[in-house]
Symmetry: C2
Subunit: 333 residues, 2 copies
Amino acid sequence: MSVNVAVVGVTGVVGQEFLTVLAERKFGFTGLKLLASSRSAGKKIDFMGETYTVEELTKDSFKGIDIALFSAGGAISKEFGPIAVKAGAVVVDNSSAFRMKDGVPLVVPEVNPGEIKKHNGLIANPNCSTIIMNVPVWPLYKVNRIKRIIVSTYQAVSGAGAWGLWELDEQIKAYAEGRPIVKNKFPHQIVNNLFSHNSKVSENGYNEEENKMVWETRKIFGDPKIMVTATCVRVAVPRAHSESINLEFERPISVAEVREILRSAPGVTIVDDREKNHFPMPLEASNQDNVLVGRIRQDMSREDGRGIEMFVSGDQVRKGAATNAVQIAERLV
Amino acid sequence: MSVNVAVVGVTGVVGQEFLTVLAERKFGFTGLKLLASSRSAGKKIDFMGETYTVEELTKDSFKGIDIALFSAGGAISKEFGPIAVKAGAVVVDNSSAFRMKDGVPLVVPEVNPGEIKKHNGLIANPNCSTIIMNVPVWPLYKVNRIKRIIVSTYQAVSGAGAWGLWELDEQIKAYAEGRPIVKNKFPHQIVNNLFSHNSKVSENGYNEEENKMVWETRKIFGDPKIMVTATCVRVAVPRAHSESINLEFERPISVAEVREILRSAPGVTIVDDREKNHFPMPLEASNQDNVLVGRIRQDMSREDGRGIEMFVSGDQVRKGAATNAVQIAERLV
């Protein structure tokens, strides 16, 4: 079977990671088309022993393409996603453009792989913080329904794009060299600081990132009743999001049960060494697909044994974006 | 009235801040004795137009002292606190040595100032994260009892002492200059990373810092039934702790009510500009006494209107330690 793949937004952080993950997972493509804006067109990219030329994304880019991996922002997805579908491709879209749209599967392969086949040409890749939370929470949910999630995040700058990484790096160097710290795109200084997630705050006081964690989790779990509240914070970390997660279960659950379930859960690695004070950290979660889970303990603010606290770190460029999309593509083939 | 003050541990981060705060608040002392370990004895410190010589802390240091501000660690407090009391001083102790001891008031002046007069020579200054949480939560609690608090922290390195600041700074410079990043006292790299609070993890899976937030809040609020769960995390921030706080009230409460209460609450500044995405940040909370409070919103994971989410930042060296102790001393005079 021949599979022609297009990567849209190949010069971005996630676009680059699409290539890394396709190679690592030995994704069996026949042809590969690398697409980006006119600014990047003509750029050469060496990949798996071949040299590819980045092409400008146009209406005619998708002829003969079977699978298009999009990560070029919501506006590009809205414009070119339907064009790619019309040309016969299945689009796996990393933007938020179609995630909450009826008829568009929103998929974390460890959670709801059955949704993939229901697509009408478009499959949405969830928000990175949502994926990182859903991977370890779902296997617990399956055993003992979770009624409520209270999450606070510690999000890496690369979640904002390559410029976020550059901005942190530049501010670190400015600070170290005693130069003035210049803000470019982030609304506030990030080195030696942290701030509420830099997405628009909506009417209800939650920002877009937080609303995504709430609404997307409901859709992915297929449970419109699960209650979620999130506080999303940007921290001075280059890569991998961390999350402090408080879970309320339907029935009592023990730490031992949680460990037992997570030990065999796909996409999860338990890092929970109380003796050595060694728990999930972004530094160790970076550049791997598994979500690290630790600090697993009985919530001492409940007397009914229905609460669990845990802390997770996951690479939002990989499992939070590129790996998740490629996993979906694998199941399409 | 003559008031002779001793500062124990004057060369530490909090010790230095004791002096800054005493000067700022024009604390009317008659005499001032600066005490530290033999290592620092003989060091000169210029303060309010005078030059003081640091003296070695000994059993005889407290003759004639009325108020002794201690911040030299639990072991020093345990050994020298009772000696100072026997010599006639009232000790305001910033360590955890006596906080949970019966008969020792544990005081946040904005919360339970009435406890101060019940002292038997010793008054304990609460844990920094606890103070920063208690200042904005108490005025809400007074109006509508809070039954449960779920908190996740983003704690500055200086909470660990001057060496924490030095270690972050050194790692930032090493990273910027491309040198290897060396861990000294923190168990893990802090630049470009974060990790679970570096205190011992106890039997219940909570670390000491988290247990302090739970137990101290109960004692300060005088409410053994208030349920608290905390997740404490160290982040790459030099100064000021931030906390994501989820509150469950006895009765429904609105965002408008919370704002109204906090607007006139002592020690609180509301920073909650949704339009400009401007909320509490450690950079802005540093070097001031008030706790910044923002991200105030109705908890969307509850349908009964009894939940509030908020995010706070407070300077843990000032209000979390030195300022709180000096405020107690002011009320003693």
